[in-house]
């Protein structure tokens, strides 16, 4: 991710970011802006207390967890913490948005659940568990939600093997989508 050098967060977010840095100096790993959106990267150990503060503090009041999504950063950067969970917050009072980001490794994919802060996280976290295998500690019912219950593996990870398709023609086989058309795969960069 390229950080814009002249990053100026929206006015409504200034007190929030200052408050966050003062209150949780050890939790905030990085604050950056891109295309007008502000991202705060957090240490997972402090996620729940930061989330509670952001929800309740009068300068923030992020009462709506608009979205919670996962991304696998394999091949995109070198960090071993390739699994990423993004929390998109919205504040009705101040009409601003903020993105929280927590990154973990595949070997230790544990993130504390925020279902206690925003109950809406329940299904979102099940979805991220389903597709990326991130374990949300403290989640009341962490089971798969969209894939079948007995599915093996986490399909949205970037190293998840994609199957080809056998077609009814002697010797014919449609290769997996990431190997079609171009030799060596559809590399996007």
């Amino acid at each position: 991710m390229t950080a814009e050098t002249t990053f100026q967060p929206p006015d409504a977010l200034q007190p929030v970011l200052t408050g966050l840095r003062e209150r949780f100096p050890e939790a905030v790993a990085e604050v950056r802006g891109h295309r007008g959106e502000v991202t705060v990267e957090l240490d997972r150990a402090h996620l729940v207390e930061v989330a509670t503060w952001l929800r309740d503090h009068p300068a923030a009041r992020f009462r709506l967890l608009a979205d919670l999504s996962g991304t696998d950063y394999l091949k995109l950067d070198e960090r071993p913490e390739r699994l990423c969970v993004d929390y998109h917050l919205y504040s009705f009072d101040h009409n601003v948005r903020l993105r929280l980001k927590v990154r973990v490794t595949v070997e230790d994919p544990h993130v504390p659940s925020v279902t206690g802060v925003w109950p809406t996280a329940n299904w979102h976290e099940r979805e991220v568990y389903d597709f990326f295998g991130v374990r949300f500690d403290g989640h009341p019912n962490l089971i798969r939600i969209l894939m079948p219950e007995d599915w093996k593996g986490y399909p949205q990870r970037k190293d998840y093997p994609l199957g080809g398709v056998d077609v009814e023609y002697i010797g014919a086989h449609v290769p997996p989508p990431d190997t079609r058309r171009y030799k060596g795969g559809w590399t996007s960069t």
Partner: protein
């Protein structure tokens, strides 16, 4: 009760999955299972009297767990509700989703940015234009380009028509489920007129792929403006007709008022947005709060109600249809001229599309140009269509106000010609979580009304 009989939860949880869970969560699931130790009565058809006799003979508990769906007409698709009943009363209710999962988010990672439109339009199939627009706005934000004013206005026009058609389907199916059969016929009749307009403009009734990154695929056809104006005029009268039919109808009031009530704080906790939130009194609409596509130019109101029940949601949706008609008229009155796609050849789709007698295709003039006149144009066309354009690295989250609430696209780019990750925050998926809290304590017949008021579209829920 004998020990050998499986509990309800044992029958549901696969052993492999339980092992895969962190130990704490697995332990919690077992306690849940022990709470409901009941016998499972498998029903595979046959004589109902025999089944109930067996249940009477074996059962010592009044609680009954029953599946509503996934094949049930009033679940709006393949939604399964696991309902725990004491007699007619709902004690607990759990929605089970995933039957329509098609892996759209993953599929977009192996197609170009432009092809992504074709996937996302199929998610929430009652609001395809919203999916396309939100996705394209996200791609444009990453690219740092903005569609020309005429394209923006056309998107607003089509979105508002689409909003009316989506609300009409909601009104029609809810009417059907609550016994107002005429409402079903009227709703689908008017929706048909909107689909005709959408077909005239895009070439298709649904799954249009008409909104493209940096513009729209083609301009309005000749004569469509009169058709839309005529529709707006008719629709006003039709909306009055619906009101006459339903608003003071004692049966409709009886079936909807006070049903499925959930207060504002609880709705916000559950992440619910859209008409459900406005029906609980919060005047929140992304078209006003964070305007996109030039919504700030149009004069419209955000209808709210205070009942927070099924009737209030009906009021809000009906009022929204009237507001959408206002916006449609204003767009037609102030439609700016100019191109419908950015001029930048590095981003714009090279082909000029035209509607022929056999549907949408490349315009004959464009085909003549690339095949007969310019080798460079042919190469450019070929490169843009097969490889597409590259999008600078970064990530954005773009929300729009769909008929069901906040439809958000979280899009990550690695700088290549394919999306790195597209995540969709579909309002149906999030709003459906409110089903359980909303329906506890209701009667079985009211579950249908309350579920319908959430207006879930399973294509969007399961993606």
């Amino acid at each position: 009760m004998s020990e050998a009989r499986p509990t309800v939860d044992e029958a549901v949880v696969r052993p492999g999955e339980a092992r895969d869970l962190p130990p704490a969560a697995a332990a919690e699931r077992v306690t849940v299972g022990e709470r409901r130790t009941q016998q499972v009565i498998a029903m595979g058809g046959g004589d109902w009297a025999e089944v109930t006799a067996r249940a009477d003979a074996e059962g010592d508990d009044e609680l009954m767990v029953i599946n509503m769906g996934p094949q049930h007409p009033s679940t709006h698709g393949v939604l399964r509700l696991v309902v725990e009943l004491r007699g007619e009363e709902v004690v607990d209710l759990q929605p089970v989703v995933g039957y329509l999962h098609t892996g759209i988010e993953k599929s977009t990672e192996f197609r170009t940015w432009v092809q992504g439109v074709t996937f996302v339009t199929r998610m929430d199939y009652l609001a395809p234009i919203f999916n396309e627009t939100a996705y394209c706005l996200a791609v444009e934000k990453l690219l740092g380009v903005e569609a020309p004013p005429r394209a923006q206005a056309l998107r607003v026009l089509m979105m508002e028509l689409n909003r009316i058609s989506s609300h009409l389907v909601w009104l029609a199916t809810t009417g059907l489920e609550l016994g107002a059969l005429s409402m079903m016929l009227y709703g689908f009749r008017e929706r048909e007129e909107i689909l005709d307009i959408l077909e005239d403009v895009t070439g298709l009734r649904m799954n249009h792929a008409w909104v493209r990154p940096a513009g729209v695929s083609q301009d309005l056809p000749d004569g469509i403006e009169d058709k839309i104006r005529a529709f707006v005029r008719d629709m006003r009268a039709k909306a009055d007709e619906y009101e006459t039919l339903l608003t003071n109808n004692p049966i409709w009031l009886e079936r909807t008022s006070g049903i499925g009530r959930l207060d504002l704080d609880r709705l916000i906790e559950l992440g619910v947005t859209g008409p459900l939130l406005r029906a609980a009194g919060l005047e929140h609409d992304l078209r006003k709060a964070e305007p996109y596509c030039g919504y700030e130019q149009y004069d419209f109101e955000v209808p709210t109600a205070t009942g927070a029940d099924v009737y209030a949601r009906y009021q809000v949706r009906l009022a929204e249809m009237r507001q959408s008609l206002r916006i449609v008229e204003q767009v037609l009155d102030s439609l700016p001229g100019g191109p419908v796609m950015v001029e930048d050849p590095k981003v714009a789709w090279p082909a000029r599309l035209a509607l022929g007698p056999d549907g949408l295709g490349n315009s004959p003039a464009h085909v003549r140009h690339i095949m007969g006149e310019s080798m460079e144009a042919l190469i450019h066309h070929f490169k843009m269509v097969t490889e597409g354009f590259k999008v600078p690295p970064g990530e954005v989250y773009v929300p729009v106000e769909s008929p069901r609430g906040e439809l958000g696209y979280h899009v990550v780019s690695d700088g290549g010609n394919l999306p790195y990750r597209v995540h969709v925050r579909d309002p149906s998926f999030v709003n459906l979580q409110a089903a359980g809290p909303m329906m506890k304590g209701l009667l079985v017949a009211d579950v249908v009304a309350a579920l319908s008021s959430i207006d879930p579209v399973l294509g969007g829920v399961d993606r």
